[in-house]
Amino acid sequence: MDDGTIDPMTHDYSHELPFWRKYIFSTDHKMIGIQYALTGLIFLLFGFGLMMLMRWQLAYPGQPLPGIGTWFSENVMPGGIMLPEFYNQLGAMHGTIMVFLGVVPLAVGGFGNFVLPLQIGAPDMAFPKLNMVSYWFLLTGGVIMFASFFVPGGAAQSGWTSYAPLSVIASSGQTWWLVGMTFLINSSLLGSVNFIVTTAQLRADGLSFNRLPFFVWAQFVTSFLLLLAFPPLMAAGILQLMDRVAHTSFFMPTGLVVSGQLLEGISGGGNAVLWQHLFWFLAHPEVYVLILPAMGIVAEVIACNTRKPLYGYKALVGSTIFLGFMSFIVWAHHMYLTGMGQNLSAFFQVTTMIISIPSIIILTTLILSLWGGAIRFTVPMLFALAFLPMFGIGGLTGLPLGLNAADIHLHDTYYVIGHFHYVVAPGTIFALFAGIYHWFPKATGRKMNDFLGRLHFWPSFVLMNCIFMPMLIQGLAGVSRRLYDPMQYAHAQPTQPLNVFISISAWCLALAQIPFIINFFWSLFAGKKVDQNPWEATTLEWTAPSPPPHGNFAQVPTVYRGPYEYSTPNAKKDFWPQSMKETN
C-alpha cells in the first residue's frame, strides 16, 4: 500500500483492519464522514452552550448565575457574575465554533464525505489518505480552539471577525485562535481539492453533469468557494500573526491611541481596514458555504418526499453556479461604515442586489417543487419544509443590510444577528437535521424514531422563531450586537423584556434537543431495521447496502437517467432508480 492507492479488489477492509484503522485513522470516506459529523455535532452543542451562558448575562445583567456559575473560576465569573472579558470570549468563540467547527464540518465534511461518493457511484474519495489528514487537521484546530479558553487571559475575545487593531493588542488567546484557524483553513483546503477531483473524475459511467443530483452540484460549487476564498483569510491570518508575534504593523495605523495612551513600540503605517477586506473576502463566500450544502440536502429530501421531479433543475444548477461566482464580489457590503468611499459602496450594493436573484430562484424552484406533489410528511420532510420559510425570512431581512442607506441604521445591531441566524440556525441547521434523519438509515441500516423526531421538530421550530424574531425588533430599536450590559444604554432598556424572553426560549430550545439526542443513540441500537432503500428514492446511494461496505457498491453502477425520476407516467412504480437499466 505504499503507493497510496486503495484497491478493494485485494483488500476487503471490513474484515482485515484493526480497530484503530477502521474507526480512528480510517481512510474510508464513510467513516471519515461520520467522524466529521460527530465532531460537528459535538461542537454545535458546545457552541450552543457558550451562547446559553451569554444569554444569562443578557437577560439578567450583573446577577450571579445560580448553580452553574460556581463551576467557573474566579478569573472569569467571580461569585457567579460574568466578567465583560469572559462575555467577549464567549461571543467570539460562539461564532468561530459554530461556523468553522460546527456547521462546516457537519455540512461539508460530514454529509459531503458520506453522501457525495455514494451519489456519484464512486468506491471512495479520490484521495483517501488526504481525506483522513483533512479530518485530523480539523480536529487539531478544534482542540486548539477549545484549549485557548484555558490560557492566561482566556480565549480570543475580538469577535469571530477578529477585527484589527483590537485583535492585535488582545491577550494570547488570539494567537491560539490564529493557529487554530490555520489548521481549519488547511483542513478545508485539502477537503475541497478532494471533493472537486472526486466529482470531476470518479462519477459512474453514464452520470453526466446533467444527471448529477443537486446535492452533488451544491457540494461541488461549495468546494470551489472553500478552495478559493479561504486562502485570503490565510494571508490575513499570517499578517495578523506577524503583527502579534513579530510586532509588525500591517494592521496598525500610525498614531494609534489605546486606552487614552499612544501605542508605542510599533512602526505604524498599517491599515486596519485591510484586515476587514481580507477577512470578508473569505467570510462572505463562507456564508454560501454554510447555505449551499443545506440547499442540496433540502432539494434531495423534497424531491423524494413529494414523489415528483424537482421543478427547474437546470435553473437550480445555473443559479447555484452563478451564486458561487457572485459570492466573490459582494464582500465589502459588510464594510459600508468603514468609510471606504461612496464608489466602492455603490458597487458592492449593486452586486449584493444581483446576488439575491439566484438565491430567490433557488428558493422559488424548491417551493414550486411542492406544487402538485403527493407530499409525505416524514420527519426529514418537516425539517426541509421548515427550511424554506426560515431561509426566506433570513434572505429577505438581508436586503436592507445590503442597501447602503438602510445599513447605516442597522449595521452591527441585533437586526444583523437576527438576519444571519435565520439563515444559519433555523435555515442551515434545520436542513442538516433533515439530512441526518434522511441518511441515518443509509449509515446505520436503521431508521430514527418518528415520534421522537416530531417531538424534536415542532418545539425547535417554534422556539427558533421565539429567539430570532425579537432580535430583529431589538435591532430596529438600535441595540448594538456586542453589548455586555444592555441596561447601560437608555435606548436599549425598553427592549430588555425581549432579552428575557429570548433567553428563556434559548434554554427551552436546548431542552427541545434532548429528544434528538435520545433518538440518535436509541436508534443506533434499537431503531427499526430497514432495507437499502427505505424512502424509495432514486439516487445511487440507495442502491448500495445499508450500511455500505468498503468500496460501497456490490457491482459498479451505471447510470441511465436523471436523478429525480419520480412518478414517471406509465411506470409500474412511482420511482425509477438512476441505475435501473430496464424500462420501468
Binding site: D2, D3, T5, I6, D7, P8, M9, D12, A122, P123, D124, A126, F127, P128, L130, L189, S192, V193, N194, I196, V197, A200, Q201, L202, L227, L228, A229, F230, P231, P232, M234, A235, A236, I238, L239, M242, A246, H247, T248, S249, F250, I266, S267, G269, G270, N271, L274, H277, L278, F281, P549, H550, G551, N552, F553, A554, Q555, V556
Partner: protein
C-alpha cells in the same frame, strides 16, 4: 467484494477531463495558492499606496544577490523538467541526476536567502522596523517555506518514492509531473516577488 472497482484514473488520464486525479488535484491546490499570494500582493498594494513614502527596493535591498537567486530558481525549474523528461525517456539514472540537481539548487536558493536575511539583521533591519521590511520578510519568508516544502517532497521522491518506478512507472511519472507543477509555481511566485520587492 471482487466486483467493486478500485479508484479510477490514478495513473491513466480521465478520457473527458484529460488529466489524472493527482494532476487535477495539484492544479486545484495551485489555484488556492494563487489566491493566497494574490491576497498578500493585494495587501502589499494597499499598504504601499496608503502611505506617503515607501522605500525603493533597489536602494535598500541587495539586487545582485536576488538576481543570482532568480537564476538559481529558473535553472532548478529547468532541471525539474529534465527530471520528468528523463522518466518519459525511461532513464532512471538521468532522473536521479536531475532531481538531485533540483534539490541542490533549491538548497542553494535558501543559503543565499539566509545570507541576505543575516545581512539585514546585522544592520538591525527587522520585520518590526517598517512596513517595507515587514512586507519583505513576510512575503519572502512564506515563499521560502514553499521552497522548503518543495525540497522535502522532491527529496522524498528521490530517495524513497522512487521505489514506485518498478511497480507503476506511469503513476510515478505522474507524481513527478505534479511535483514539478508545484515547483514551477514556487518559481513563478519568485518571478513576481523579485521585481515587486527589489526593483520597484
Amino acid at each position: 467484494m471482487s466486483d467493486t472497482a478500485a479508484i479510477r484514473y490514478i495513473s491513466h488520464p480521465h478520457p473527458v477531463t484529460g488529466v489524472t486525479n493527482s494532476k487535477l488535484g495539484v492544479w486545484c491546490f495551485l489555484a488556492s495558492e494563487v489566491m493566497l499570494f494574490g491576497g498578500l500582493f493585494s495587501a502589499y498594494i494597499m499598504l504601499r499606496t496608503g502611505v506617503p513614502d515607501w522605500p525603493r527596493g533597489h536602494e535598500v535591498l541587495n539586487v545582485p544577490l536576488a538576481t543570482l537567486n532568480t537564476m538559481i530558481l529558473i535553472t532548478s525549474s529547468v532541471t525539474m523538467v529534465m527530471a520528468w523528461a528523463s522518466l518519459e525517456l525511461k532513464s532512471l539514472s538521468k532522473f536521479r541526476l536531475h532531481m538531485a540537481l533540483t534539490v541542490l539548487l533549491g538548497l542553494a536558493f535558501l543559503v543565499v536567502k539566509a545570507f541576505e536575511y543575516g545581512h539585514k539583521f546585522e544592520h538591525h533591519h527587522f520585520p518590526a522596523t517598517s512596513n517595507f521590511y515587514a512586507t519583505y520578510f513576510t512575503l519572502t519568508g512564506l515563499h521560502g517555506l514553499h521552497v522548503v516544502g518543495g525540497i522535502v517532497v522532491n527529496t522524498y521522491f528521490l530517495l524513497f518514492g522512487i521505489k514506485m518506478w518498478d511497480k507503476d512507472p506511469e503513476q510515478f511519472t505522474g507524481r513527478i509531473e505534479a511535483s514539478g507543477l508545484y515547483w514551477h509555481f514556487v518559481d513563478l511566485v519568485w518571478i513576481f516577488l523579485f521585481p515587486v520587492l527589489y526593483l520597484l
